[in-house]
Subunit: 394 residues, 2 copies
């Protein structure tokens, strides 16, 4: 299969590209490196050092004998998108290429507008390019479980059958996203569903949970193939951040009560899920949604698991929740569609936690303790960050 991986230089895009390449697919990587610019803007860096994309691609060829095509450019540039799609002629496109941090989108007005325009316009350009070049291209788009928010009923996979006043219909699941970033993904979902309906495109929206871990079967083939690992208050996700906090003897900072419950998955399962979606494409005109996570945990549970797994002493600290979210809520979300396609999950246990803690420990000298605390407040319209310029870099 010929597969384009958009955002293929990122945390998940890079290991996905390697995984698909090793599995025998012809892979093209598209990126504009804006994720690396966010690091400069925020004054933070990946805990694990990462090579430039060109170096990584060369190294992958040396290690595996396999080639990756690369295309450098921005999805908000429609001409670039057209060129890439018509030159590479993909069978499928995996789309990771969006600004993916909720706190980044909540810094201030400019970052909110940047996030929504960047994500929504990039995806619209892609939809038009697919429709114009080859509507049979299967779009596998990364969404987020955060699109659903925390309703007081079970979350289903994209759609819910509603019986109301004696009539029944299967309708898009109501969305209650919790940041301008999460909102951008909801906008994308609506736009993609519409494009499938009017142009007969085929799309899979992967509503992904919070990913943890950093090592995959391919990235561990050589240290230079490592993917990034973020622990900072803006781009670091919860479990990875807790592991870093544990190894540098920083209290594990639980936002509020810690009853916030989220779907989670191992980075290796992200790769498996994307491949399963690719191997079982959506039908012509079909917009389908898979909830891509394997287990649910509350934030406090995660902190306790890390504390248990770490051999040293670990303190758990409750800090004021910078977000506007329920700190205690019902959470039960369906996630059977990927299991039905054959996903065999890596569940979160002591051995996985020890692996992540080992990654953190190996690079503990690179940890900037000042980068860990949350700096972006949901309740104000503008958060002052130590290093931010006040203007998004993208």
């Amino acid at each position: 299969m010929r597969i384009l991986v958009l955002g293929g230089d990122g945390y998940l895009g890079w290991p996905t590209a390697l995984h698909l390449s090793r599995r025998g697919h012809d892979v093209g990587v598209v990126d504009n490196f804006v994720r690396r610019q966010y690091d400069h803007e925020m004054g933070v860096d990946s805990l694990v050092p990462i090579l430039q994309l060109s170096q990584r691609v060369r190294l992958w060829n040396e290690v595996s004998g396999l080639d990756l095509d690369t295309y450098v450019g921005d999805l908000t540039d429609a001409d670039f998108v057209d060129t890439v799609v018509s030159r590479f002629e993909p069978d499928a496109i995996v789309h990771f290429a969006e600004q993916r941090s909720a706190p980044y989108s909540m810094i201030d007005r400019k970052h909110a507008v940047y996030t929504q325009v960047n994500n929504v316009v990039g995806t619209m350009n892609l939809l038009y390019a697919i429709a114009e070049h080859d509507p049979s291209i299967h779009l596998v788009k990364l969404g987020t479980m955060g699109e659903y928010g925390t309703p007081n009923i079970d979350i289903e996979e994209g759609f819910i059958e509603i019986t109301h006043k004696g009539r029944t219909d299967l309708l898009p699941y109501p969305k209650q996203p919790g940041s301008f970033y999460h909102l951008s993904k909801v906008h994308d979902s609506h736009n993609i569903q519409f494009a499938c309906r009017i142009w007969g495109l085929r799309a899979t929206d992967l509503n992904q949970g919070v990913v943890y871990g950093q090592q995959t079967d391919e990235t561990t083939m050589h240290p230079g193939l490592a993917t990034r690992f973020d622990y900072d208050g803006v781009f670091g996700t919860v479990l990875n951040r807790f592991c870093v906090q544990a190894v540098v003897d920083h209290p594990l900072s639980v936002y509020g009560k810690g009853g916030q419950t989220r779907g989670m998955l191992d980075i290796r399962d992200t790769l498996a899920c994307v491949e399963l979606a690719l191997l079982h494409p959506a039908e012509e005109g079909e917009f389908r949604v898979f909830n891509q996570f394997t287990e649910s945990f509350s934030v406090l549970q995660l902190a306790e698991m890390v504390a248990d797994a770490y051999p040293g002493k670990v303190r758990i600290e409750h800090v004021e929740d910078p977000r506007v979210e329920k700190e205690d809520h019902y959470y039960r979300a369906a996630h059977t569609k990927l299991l039905d396609l054959g996903l065999v999950p890596h569940l979160l246990g002591p051995s996985t936690l020890r692996d992540i803690l080992a990654v953190a420990d190996a690079h503990r000298d690179r940890v900037d303790p000042l980068a860990i605390a949350p700096t972006v407040q949901w309740r104000t319209t503008a958060s002052t960050l130590p290093t931010a310029s006040g203007r998004p870099v993208g």
Copy 2:
């Protein structure tokens, strides 16, 4: 009350501004005149001649003795939005200032992206300006009944109580919009609801049906106070277009079977609804939705009503539906909230139809028959228009 009317030079914005002014409110009008530029781009014009905003405002002062403040600028310019909100210090803002044509948004990629960015960013800038300047400002935002699409269950006003697997929650009504324009309104709704939740803003989303008519109590006080009247294939809405077709002996062009059913309302009821929303503001932190229409009709019913009301001979013609929509469907939508606030609707009957036909007849020499046919096809990604430049003017 101090009220800003955004898009106050438009079809509904202008008569709303006059109505609120005459009812004793201090009114400021904001516009960037892009609606008039669309006319140039499309090579069409309002059937009823309209004056420049500055002339209209001067005339209103002569006729009524009342002043309207004017602010000329673009909502996508955040500095402009901040300046207007801080200078005028409104109690409420009525927001009509969006690209509001579904066909315009479906011309091609550039017009789709323009529509979404223009509408979404303008509204985001407004939300930030309100939150930063004065969160108690009541935002009255024009949405559309088209946000809901045509589900097979009853449409409620913004929210629906769902009982699912033994649990119950009141959730945002699922949205199935039918164009990139309608999608932009769905995106707005999600963004506004979020801003109410995190910043305690108060907002009313008026999901308006298709408006018909052109004359209001204030615009008829002087011919120079007339508002625009569109009959062309891109900006003309269905009933107004049928009336023009009748008077110029053009067949009434029904798209497809004509079973498409939509909520409709008289232009005078738009003004009344907006005022009712203003006089009964949303609570702090409340995002509420009113379905703003008074009756539902199928397109074919409307054509038949116009044919009955017009004294001359009228032919009804079924043309291929340029849109992707159900031509026959269930449609039952709640619209009690504005009635509960005291709305007394002007229902659609022969006398209203005769009034609209009279407006059309008075300006029949200005009708361009070539502008009437639908030119924008939903099923293709780019429609070739006779006069369009291929680049949105906004």
